[in-house]
């Protein structure tokens, strides 16, 4: 059995882009974990999407051997986490597999919203926090100011805040020494019945589910018969191993270890993230404290553009969910779009990434509806239902009250932008709750805002109004009754369910007008006049007419080249087959997509 006093498990946490993955590169180098020629920037960002977008989407665990100054070699289990607000769920899961964190702050940017949010998560998890100012090599770096901000935040001596550069490597060794000194070695009991927390998972086409685990008590070995405590299902482990940095099988994972286990299951639901693995013959009494199920913030319908791909989409969702426990889905049908799924996401970036991963990794072509939030509807009967698809909103006459989800937002901004941000929050029906200065010129403000107002382009607005200096964190905090209505869009008298939306009464007209005009532009002319209308219940609030088509002819049809004319017609016909049929109106896929797109920047 190994000496657990030589083991440390910690995460890198920070606001987005403050340099976690780059610092991880330097740590990998200090520990000589990757041959120099294989080294590349943000080595742990493995997914194509991560590399293209330059952000971390998924937390990555890795085991390292660190030769410390005291002459001993320590085993470091490091987890690099994502910084974007949509992925804070990844952070909280990573923290459950750690005993401490390094909190990085960009020396030029200072404390930002996710710095605070992630710090609170670490404190809540009872972890040792090692603050460090990063990117000190930047010309605009102001480590003095940032250290002062950190010291007043955490209540420590500003002089004790470490200064590092993930780019030059300055201070990295000192930082690791601090980790050895301050992060406690794993607790847990090697002799007790096995308890290992599944903190993440992926799906491998050949091996099935790969569970990322932290062993708290006992041990995990290959061939061990295990039981999933939440589901009660029994499995024999095919393999256990560590990430060093790629998957490397080992004989066993001991208490305190972070690694992976392959339970040999194809069904996602049998190895849930958050579940505890125990020994089948000598089970533990109590499962580990798991995670709160993540609460989706944003809902949208996901449909295959080709109806034949419905089953493929279902399989893809099942598999992707293994990789991303945070999104949820259930089947739904739309008369305009056919069979699909209503999916819940943590935010728009998350939605965008799920869609892109599904398209890339599973070769699907997808259509996504306008995102909305989940409403609570009280029927006149007193029954309360949750509505996360506007099309399912009951008839106004059957509704006693509609409640919309509320978000608590925390915004950090240089004070010169305070005015314009308060205006923005005002426009979005926000209510100021708190304001205080983090330092002389940086302010933290807290608002309660309808979640629906935040998911659209709030973040973009905030960024542009603060020239990129503002940052935002938010969480859902419950529901409040509001004056909301469902606006329906009708084409030739038929409601198009995918275009229904729930909006505040005062915005209904503007919304209806905008949609109707957009559709008039996008829907091609048909053989007859088509009315495009927006309505609330039976009341029409906006109307446009798409005039009947007057020309649909191939001018020349001679020279004897009839083959080519026929092929042209066939091509046009194939194009028509791909159209969505709404009642008697045909809409090309692209027009449908464009109408569903949120931004109406022309």
């Amino acid at each position: 059995m190994k000496d657990r006093s030589l083991v440390r498990a910690f995460s890198l946490i920070a606001h987005v882009d403050h340099g976690k993955s780059t610092l991880a590169d330097r740590i990998l180098q200090v520990c000589k974990a990757v041959p120099e020629r294989e080294m590349r920037e943000q080595y742990l960002d493995r997914m194509d999407l991560e590399r293209e977008r330059g952000i971390t989407i998924k937390a990555q665990a890795i085991r390292l051997q660190y030769p410390a100054k005291d002459g001993k070699t320590y085993e470091l289990n490091l987890i690099d986490t994502p910084g974007h607000v949509d992925f804070s769920y990844e952070v909280s899961r990573s923290l459950a597999a750690c005993d401490g964190v390094i909190l990085l702050v960009d020396a030029a940017q200072g404390i930002e919203a996710q710095t605070l949010a992630n710090l609170y998560l670490a404190i809540e998890a009872g972890l040792e926090v090692i603050p460090a100012v990063n990117k000190i090599d930047l010309p605009a770096a102001d480590p003095e100011r940032v250290s002062a901000e950190l010291s007043s935040l955490i209540g420590i001596d500003p002089g004790s805040v470490l200064r590092v550069s993930g780019k030059t490597g300055a201070g990295v060794v000192e930082l690791l020494e601090e980790v050895i000194r301050r992060v406690p070695s794993p607790k847990g009991a090697p002799e007790d019945p096995t308890r290992a927390l599944i903190f993440d998972s992926t799906y491998d086409n050949y091996r099935g589910v790969v569970s990322f685990v932290r062993v708290l008590d006992g041990e995990l070995t290959a061939r061990q018969k295990v039981k999933m405590m939440a589901t009660g299902s029994l499995h024999e482990l095919e393999e256990v191993g560590v990430f060093a940095p790629t998957m490397m099988p080992v004989k066993k994972l001991e208490a305190g270890d972070v690694g992976y286990a392959i339970p040999g299951v194809k069904n996602v639901r049998e190895a849930k993230v958050g579940d505890t693995i125990t020994d089948a013959a000598r089970p533990a009494d109590e499962p580990l404290h798991g995670y709160r199920e993540p609460k989706p913030m944003v809902w949208a319908g996901l449909y295959p553009t080709d109806g034949d791909q419905y089953a493929d989409l279902r399989d893809a969702l099942d598999k992707l969910r293994l990789n991303d426990a945070a999104f949820v889905y259930e089947p739904e049908t739309s008369q305009a779009l056919g069979f699909g799924f209503r999916c819940g996401f943590l935010g728009l970036l998350h939605m965008d990434i799920v869609r892109e991963r599904l398209e890339r990794e599973f070769d699907l072509d997808l259509l996504i509806t306008v995102p909305s939030v989940a409403y609570e509807v009280v029927r006149v009967t007193g029954e309360v239902i949750s509505v996360h698809n506007p099309a399912e909103m009951p008839d106004p006459a059957a509704i006693q009250e509609i409640r919309e989800p509320l978000a608590a937002a925390m915004i950090i901004t240089p004070k010169e932008f305070l005015g314009t941000l308060m205006e923005l929050c005002q426009e979005r029906r926000g209510e100021m709750k708190e304001m205080h200065y983090l330092s002389e010129d940086r302010v933290e403000i807290r608002y309660h805002l309808p979640l629906a107002e935040m998911i659209v382009d709030f973040f973009d607005q905030l960024k542009s109004r603060t020239r990129g200096y503002g940052s935002l964190d938010y969480e859902a905090i419950g529901y409040r009754p509001e004056d909301l209505v469902k606006v329906e869009i009708l084409l030739h008298g038929e409601p198009v369910d995918a275009f229904s939306s729930i909006v505040h009464k005062e915005r209904a007209y503007t919304y209806g007008r905008k949609m109707v005009e957009k559709l008039r532009e996008l829907v091609p002319r048909q053989m007859f006049d088509v009315a495009v209308q927006a309505s609330i219940g039976s009341r029409i609030i906006a109307r446009e007419t798409i005039r009947a088509r007057r020309k649909d002819v191939l001018a020349k049809c001679y020279g004897g080249d009839i083959t080519r004319k026929r092929k042209l017609l066939e091509k046009q016909k194939a194009g028509k087959r791909r159209m969505k049929q709404v009642g008697s109106v045909e809409i090309p896929q692209e027009a449908f997509m464009a109408a569903l797109r949120l931004d109406d920047k022309k």
Binding site: R525, M527, F528, R549, R550, K551, D552, V553, L554, A555, K556, C557, Y558, G559, G560, D561, I562, T563, K565, R566, L569, E570, Q572, K573, K576
Partner: protein
């Protein structure tokens, strides 16, 4: 009201046989044109004619031919002498009817009175002039090499030469062309005494310079509604001058129909000679290599491809093409040739089109309505399987 019963209908009962000869040369290549036409190939002309004659001789079967059509490009880029030589070889190779229609396309910029006299002497009975417009700014937009004056003069010369029939080709709906410009073009060509007019809506064809200009925003694309307005104007004006519409884009005095083009629309056979020329024989459609140089180089093995459609598809094709005729499909004859009354065969499709007011179904025929002419594509697609 037109008496449609007097207009040609499809399919034809006795199938005529035509000959198409492609002359791919042009003085300049017009930016909107996607025909197989090439400027600056003077060096190929000589060898091309030789290869053409070789192809004709190889196909000589002595069987009857009712119509011959020289299209392009600009056939008059060859001299009347060379054209006459080709005609002679055709007459040697086939049994050309004494009353055969022998037609040729010509452009105002490459013709003089002498050209027309020469063509008539060579045996051409019909000439079709690419006038396109009589508005100078429209001709300029289209990149045409002639002026309105030259176009008028060419039409007058052709009339004076004494052909049986003279046609003027016109293009409408060019951006910048006003309704009045269009009216003036129509009236202008009618004034010269032509007995046939073809009117084509300007179309942005793929892979033309125009298409790339439009894509880059350098040129405006034509507007559908404008074109529909122009078409309506023609549909009022031309019949008033005695030129009845007998096909979507073609108007003629009684009997002045293009018999060669009717052969295409009514399902006739035709032999195609020259680069990119298409032929049709008993349901087999074939086409030659399109590049003139390749055509010369490969001579006499110039066929590039062919297709033979299953009967069901041929029937649909016959209906689609036949519906372009103002007289439409003769139901009884269609049943005779294709084994089923079109109204039975495409019951749902045709009823739908009739419901939309695009076609009229009578005991005898199925034909486009006034509204249907310019929406033919909708009906045509519905008949494709």
């Amino acid at each position: 009201m037109t008496n449609t019963l007097l207009l040609p209908t499809a399919p034809a009962l006795r199938l005529a046989r035509g000959v198409y000869v492609h002359i791919p040369f042009c003085l300049v290549h017009c930016p909107y044109c996607d025909f197989n036409a090439h400027a600056g190939m003077d060096d190929v002309k000589g060898p091309y004619v030789e290869a053409l004659l070789k192809e004709i001789r190889a196909a000589a079967d002595g069987a009857p031919v009712d119509t011959m059509f020289f299209g392009g490009g600009t056939p008059t880029e060859l001299s009347p002498g060379e054209l006459g030589r080709i005609l002679r070889v055709l007459r040697e190779s086939f049994e050309v009817a004494p009353d055969a229609e022998v037609a040729i396309e010509a452009n105002p910029e490459s013709t003089t009175r002498a050209t027309f006299d020469g063509l008539l002497a060579a045996g051409f009975t019909r000439v079709s002039l690419g006038v396109q417009s009589l508005a100078p700014h429209v001709l300029k937009w289209l990149g045409r090499a002639h002026t309105p004056e030259r176009a008028r003069a060419a039409l007058a010369d052709a009339e004076a030469a004494g052909f049986d029939h003279v046609n003027a080709d016109l293009i409408f709906g060019t951006p910048g062309e006003s309704l009045e410009d269009w009216r003036a073009s129509l009236e202008g060509v009618l004034a010269t005494g032509v007995d046939h007019v073809s009117t084509y809506a300007l179309q942005v064809e793929e892979r033309t310079p125009l298409a790339s200009w439009v894509a880059r925003g350098l040129r405006q694309a034509p507007d559908d509604d404008d074109q529909a307005d122009r078409y309506e104007l023609a549909a009022g004006l031309l019949p008033a001058a005695g030129l009845e519409r007998y096909e979507i884009s073609n108007w003629a005095k009684p009997g002045a129909w293009s018999r060669h083009n009717l052969c295409y629309w009514t399902g006739g056979d035709y032999l195609g000679f020259g680069a990119g020329a298409h032929g049709h024989r008993h349901g087999r459609r074939s086409w030659n290599v399109s590049s003139p140089r390749t055509y010369v180089a490969r001579s006499p093995a110039v066929e590039e491809g062919w297709e033979e459609l299953p009967a069901a598809e041929r029937a649909a094709e016959a209906a689609i093409v036949g519906l372009r005729l103002a007289g439409g499909l003769d139901r009884a004859r269609f049943a005779e040739v294709w084994g089923m009354d079109p109204v039975v065969r495409w019951e749902g499709e045709l009823r739908e089109a009739a419901g939309l007011g695009l076609i009229r179904i009578t005991e005898q025929a199925v034909a486009l309505t006034e509204r249907g002419f310019f929406l033919w594509g909708h009906v045509a697609r519905s008949l494709l399987s």
